[in-house]
């Protein structure tokens, strides 16, 4: 945890230098995604070893949320622009995978408005997930072309408007999305490995984007917008790149979420998911990939612990149970306390790395 990775001097470093510098940057920072992946793999292995099914489902939820938060980090963390709209891309991804994987017979009765070729199609879930990610990425490209000219709070509200638009359309376009009633029949994947792979892939995509030329330029623009644009950084363009990459990752997350629960409704992907994932990112540390992952793991663990207490924990003779609703209240209070003590999140701008031995 000692090295500071995301600092602007690096950007200057790399833009000026040639390839070898980029490779050395990759070598210096690759330990972060590896450590984060090891954390996720460790959690997964523990889950598999306990063999408990409800716990398995919980950890799948955690991994899906890791994908979401990493997706958010790619845009929010690198650009510094808060986005409320990314869950909309998760919604697009979830419905895309529903269109691609539901049994054609069920599909033609439930969603008659789909085009013929889509009605006939039935793909394995992993192909569908990749296509869903691409679909969400394309949607992000279209919205992003328009939105990325904005910055600050105007951009945040515009992204929120995108989320609200997607939600309204998907809640009312009955023949294609089934409206507000849930779309059922999505194949449920209960093994944990696909989710682990998804989360690890997301972490590595985020890392690769962060050390790419575009990612470095974007972070430079986040910290010193005027200096960066004076040095030739095309801020809207770099933001668009991040927006598309993060939109695709959100789409992947949405698709996997659909496969983990087997039903999708537009309201699954609306305000509450937006705020849950954003809170996890901010509590963990907005400017740091490690912060995002650690935020998810910690807050999920907390939520789970509070749920257990709510269900009742045997203590000696009697069971000790918290009243209903206290779980959320406690969660809110803990979040406020963490933010009051560490305003830039648990990790701040730092990444987890091994202590470095030879500097310079």
């Amino acid at each position: 945890m000692s090295a500071v990775v995301s600092e602007t001097p690096l950007a200057g470093d790399v833009v000026a230098a040639k390839k070898p510098a980029r490779f050395s940057l990759a070598r210096r920072t690759i330990i972060t995604p590896i450590l984060l992946s090891l954390l996720l793999i460790a959690i997964t292995l523990i889950t598999v070893m306990t063999g408990s099914r409800p716990f398995n489902q919980t950890v799948i939820d955690v991994l899906v949320r890791v994908i979401f938060v990493v997706g958010l980090y790619i845009f929010i963390g690198n650009s510094g622009v808060l986005s409320f709209g990314h869950v909309g891309f998760a919604c697009l991804g979830a419905y895309a995978t529903a269109w691609l994987t539901i049994n054609p017979i069920m599909k033609s009765s439930a969603l008659p408005g789909l085009p013929e070729w889509l009605l006939q199609m039935r793909l394995p879930y992993w192909e569908a997930a990749v296509l869903a990610a691409l679909f969400a990425g394309v949607a992000a490209l279209i919205f992003g072309r328009v939105l990325m000219r904005l910055s600050g709070i105007a951009a945040s509200i515009a992204t929120f408007a995108v989320l609200a638009m997607i939600n309204t359309i998907y809640s009312n376009w009955d023949s294609v999305t089934g409206g507000t009633s849930s779309v059922v029949g999505i194949p449920i994947i209960r093994t944990i490995w696909p989710y682990l792979i998804g989360a690890v892939v997301a972490v590595f995509i985020a890392w690769a984007h962060a050390i790419s030329r575009s990612g470095l330029a974007l972070r430079a623009a986040r910290d010193e917008p005027i200096a960066a644009s004076a040095s030739g950084v095309d801020i809207p363009r770099e933001r668009l790149v991040a927006f598309v990459v993060s939109g695709a990752v959100m789409g992947l997350g949405g698709a996997l979420m659909a496969h983990s629960i087997g039903v999708v409704t537009p309201d699954t992907f609306y305000l509450s998911l937006t705020f849950t994932t954003l809170s996890m990112l901010v509590v963990g540390g907005m400017g740091s990939l490690s912060g995002g992952v650690i935020g998810v793991v910690l807050l999920s663990a907390l939520i789970q612990a509070l749920r257990w207490f709510e269900a009742g924990v045997p203590m000696g003779e009697s069971t000790f149970a918290l009243p209903k609703g206290l779980q959320e209240i406690a969660l809110g209070i803990i979040m406020i306390v963490i933010l009051a003590l560490r305003p830039s999140g648990l990790m701040g701008n730092r990444e987890v790395t091994l202590p470095r031995r030879n500097r310079g």
Partner: protein, 301 residues
């Protein structure tokens, strides 16, 4: 025609009052207060006796209106000031995203506190039932309530304008909104101004609670959220921190929703909100700083 106008005005009034509550706080401390919607819900539930039954046990709601109104306004102001003292004071120097998430977390706490006391089922309440009788004006039959909503909103807006322009406290508040650190150096008490802003904003939440509660006749934990979102958007379109802009944008949003409901072809009507949000994006693209840009929010090099 007149009916549409009044619909637009009364819906716009709600949005404008909500946007004002958010803009007031944003002006003095750059905080986008997501807990505002939950303060609104809290004010409605303050009228009921805590119980998880489906039937609402009206408690303070039975007071005569001249006691009821101040009671609700005080509830809102009190809760809002309490939030400031307990939570937001610790976030004075935090960055906006952190404050936003903190306010969201606070709203979460308030919402689930209500849920614990009252359960999540919506309850029907009859608040000021005499107001739902229709009246006839210029040949249009309007619910009296709609008329009162508009009149009350106008009165609040005029009152607030006078307050901000004519009193010393209002002057301090405007100064703080313009340039907070400069105002402090010139002797404006930061805590007092911020608490004042929270109290005003809370009282506005109380006013919305009264109007909305008597319009819908239900008390629902989620009820603040829908107004809150529109109000939030109105604040941004209006120009963050600009009070006049917030009010203007609130009315515009109300008008846009009502007009689109009428103008759009029947097939497209369910998608009305999508069109409204699309319009929001368009406005932001052409005027990212808002319709009436507040001075002092522009970034300096």
């Amino acid at each position: 025609m007149l009916q549409i106008l009044f619909d637009a005005l009364s819906l716009g009034s709600l949005y404008a009052l909500g946007a004002l509550g958010i803009a007031l706080i944003f002006g003095v401390m750059r905080l986008v207060n997501f807990a505002h919607g939950d303060v609104i819900a809290f004010c409605v539930f303050a009228l009921l006796w805590p119980s998880t039954d489906a039937m609402a046990i009206v408690f303070a709601g039975q007071l005569p209106w001249y006691l009821l109104v101040p009671f609700v306004l005080l509830c809102g102001a009190g809760l809002s000031v309490l939030c400031e003292i307990v939570v937001f004071r610790r976030f004075r120097n935090a960055n906006p995203a952190t404050m936003m998430i903190a306010s969201f977390a606070l709203g979460f706490v308030i919402r689930y506190f209500l849920l614990m006391l009252y359960s999540s089922r919506p309850k029907s309440i009859s608040l000021l039932p005499t107001l739902s009788q229709p009246v006839e004006i210029f040949g249009a039959r309007l619910p009296l309530l709609q008329l009162i909503t508009i009149v009350v909103t106008m009165a609040i807006l005029i009152g607030l304008t006078l307050f901000l322009r004519q009193t010393r406290f209002g002057l301090e508040m405007r100064a703080a909104a313009e340039n907070f650190s400069m105002a402090r150096m010139l002797g404006v008490r930061a805590n007092r101004v911020i608490m004042g802003a929270f109290a005003l904003s809370g009282a506005l939440a109380g006013a919305i609670a009264l109007i909305f509660g008597s319009q819908t006749g239900t008390a629902d934990i989620q009820m603040g959220a829908s107004i809150m979102l529109m109000a939030f958007i109105a604040t941004v379109i209006g120009g963050l921190g600009s009070l006049g802009g917030a009010v203007l944008a609130g009315f515009l949003l109300g008008a846009a929703s009502v007009v689109m409901q009428v103008v759009l072809p029947v097939d497209a009507r369910p998608f009305r909100d999508a069109f409204v949000y699309g319009a929001v994006i368009l406005v932001l693209l052409f005027r990212p700083q808002g319709l009436i840009a507040a001075r002092g929010t522009k970034e300096r090099v």
